[in-house]
């Protein structure tokens, strides 16, 4: 009896964890997009008030943001400082690839990240500020969508995991 009870609890726990892990994908996506937007806000301030060069600005932002978004900026900065003749776009792309495992962006989100790579350091100050502001707007839209998805899917996946586990237990018993 004890063993059955233990087995049943394990199944329910595992199923709930599975559901929870899927729902956390949506949660992470939201928090990462918020973090990225914060990073862009910091970048605008670095450009606007300090005219800080891109590698240093990325380094500052990387230190202040949470992982993995912070690491994305730090990695890109490190690649730029190695001066191997890579363009800003190539450094950003490489950093994105290195951190792709931890980043939970949707396909649209990833496209926006790619587009950011085209924008970094391009144009004069006003041009750079305008381009970043545009990407910010698109990211805000992506954040709203991610928040909606999170609200829709968070509870569903948690319940689905729990109920799936219960169903399996009932079926097995």
């Amino acid at each position: 009896m004890y063993l059955k009870f233990l087995g049943a609890s394990l199944i329910i726990f595992a199923a709930y964890t599975y559901g929870y892990s899927i729902s956390s994908l949506y949660r992470n996506r939201v928090s990462q997009l918020k973090e990225l937007l914060l990073g862009l806000e910091m970048f605008l301030a670095e450009v606007n008030y300090g005219l800080t060069p891109l590698p240093q600005a990325f380094m500052h932002i990387g230190h202040k943001l949470k992982e993995p978004v912070g690491k994305l900026f730090s990695d890109a900065a490190a690649l730029m400082q190695k001066s191997r003749g890579l363009s800003a776009r190539e450094c950003w792309k490489k950093a994105l690839k290195n951190n792709s495992g931890a980043l939970e962006f949707s396909r649209d989100g990833m496209e926006l990240m790619d587009r950011l790579g085209l924008v970094w350091g391009k144009g004069d100050k006003s041009g750079q500020l305008r381009q970043i502001a545009l990407i910010q707007e698109l990211l805000r839209q992506a954040l709203r969508e991610a928040q909606n998805e999170y609200q829709k899917n968070d509870k569903m996946w948690k319940y689905l995991g729990l109920l799936g586990g219960l169903t399996l237990v009932i079926f097995l018993l």
Binding site: L51, P53, L54, S83, G85, A88, D124, K125, Q128, L129
Partner: protein, 331 residues
């Protein structure tokens, strides 16, 4: 000068697009040592200039004809510009407006492209199509001979001096070395050095990168980098208490006023101006006016007759007496 080859490889090459970098890095040291300019032009041959000649560069080194040379692509130029500006063109707006950047090592990169004009002034250069890397070289010791003529031993002061030469005549090199010698207190001064202030409007004298002099201008020297001369001289006088102010290429009315101000404040001024003879420079309205006032106690003429920086003549400002002439071989 094997040092120049090393400097090009360490300081300039990392800022070149990979293909161009590869070509330059693999050039023989003897060629790099005499290189003065590396020129990248969109869809045109890669060329290096050296004193008295030029070489077309192919992918495997110098080639005899321009047709065989490596043609710099738009991507090469774009990437080089990105590397030059540390990926941050927005941080170099003023430099892009002026048409040059200074890079670590004090080397200067001239730019040409499409000028965006606003209110009759260049707002920014866009679509950069030419890059000219001018290799900085410091020739230490060129100022020693001149220093002996401009140092007043009795009063222990440096005399107000104007260096005159045609372009590429070695004015800036001489100013830089004089700054170093005066600042450090060279043997001839027979005393501790003096506080020197350099107003370096075009970042040529000290070759500052992010405000830090890349060339040796002495340890008692303050540099106001990229600062308009007139404003810079006044700022120096107000806050940095220099004993000697050094600046280059004076010629505007406001420069002259600021120089007068400095002279009246008891600060020695060493400046330079374009020109090949006293008559020529006297004909320029502003410079002529300044010279008539006899502020400058020494006029130093350079030329590139026997290489850049040939000392032609030093004359005493007030009475026009020659103190040194290369034709007579000395004092």
């Amino acid at each position: 000068m094997p040092n120049t080859a090393y400097n090009i490889k360490k300081q300039i090459c990392p800022l070149l697009a990979p293909k161009v970098r590869f070509i330059i890095e693999n050039l023989p040291d003897e060629l790099l040592a005499k290189t003065e300019e590396i020129r990248l032009r969109h869809s045109r041959p890669l060329i290096i200039f050296w004193a008295g000649g030029e070489s077309y560069l192919g992918e495997k080194g110098p080639v005899p004809t321009p047709r065989e040379a490596y043609m710099a692509s738009g991507e090469d130029l774009e990437k080089t510009l990105e590397l030059l500006s540390s990926y941050s063109l927005y941080a170099y707006e003023e430099e892009l407006r002026q048409g040059y950047l200074t890079i670590p090592g004090g080397h200067r990169v001239g730019l040409a492209g499409r000028a965006v004009v606003e209110g009759g002034r260049i707002k920014v250069l866009r679509d950069i199509s030419s890059l000219n890397f001018r290799v900085a070289r410091q020739v230490k010791g060129v100022g020693e001979k001149v220093l002996a003529f401009i140092f007043d031993r009795r009063m222990g002061r440096i005399m107000h001096s104007l260096i005159i030469s045609p372009p590429q005549g070695g004015k800036t090199t001489l100013l830089r070395d004089l700054a170093r010698l005066i600042s450090e207190g060279a043997g001839i001064l027979g005393q501790a050095g003096k506080k020197v202030g350099i107003v370096d409007e075009r970042s040529e004298i000290a070759g500052c990168y992010q405000g830090v002099p890349q060339l040796d201008v002495g340890f008692r020297t303050d540099v106001l980098d990229a600062c308009p001369k007139a404003e810079g001289i006044m700022l120096m006088l107000r806050s940095l208490s220099p004993q000697v102010i050094i600046t280059d290429e004076i010629g505007r009315g406001e420069d002259v006023k600021a120089i007068e101000e400095a002279i009246h404040a008891g600060v020695s001024v060493i400046a330079s101006a374009h020109g090949s003879s006293l008559e020529e420079i006297c004909q320029r309205p502003i410079m002529g006016g300044l010279l008539q006032k006899n502020y400058f106690e020494r006029l130093i003429f350079l030329s590139n007759n026997r290489g850049p920086g040939t000392l032609e003549m030093i004359i005493e400002g007030e009475r026009g007496l020659p103190l040194y002439s290369s034709r007579h071989g000395g004092e």
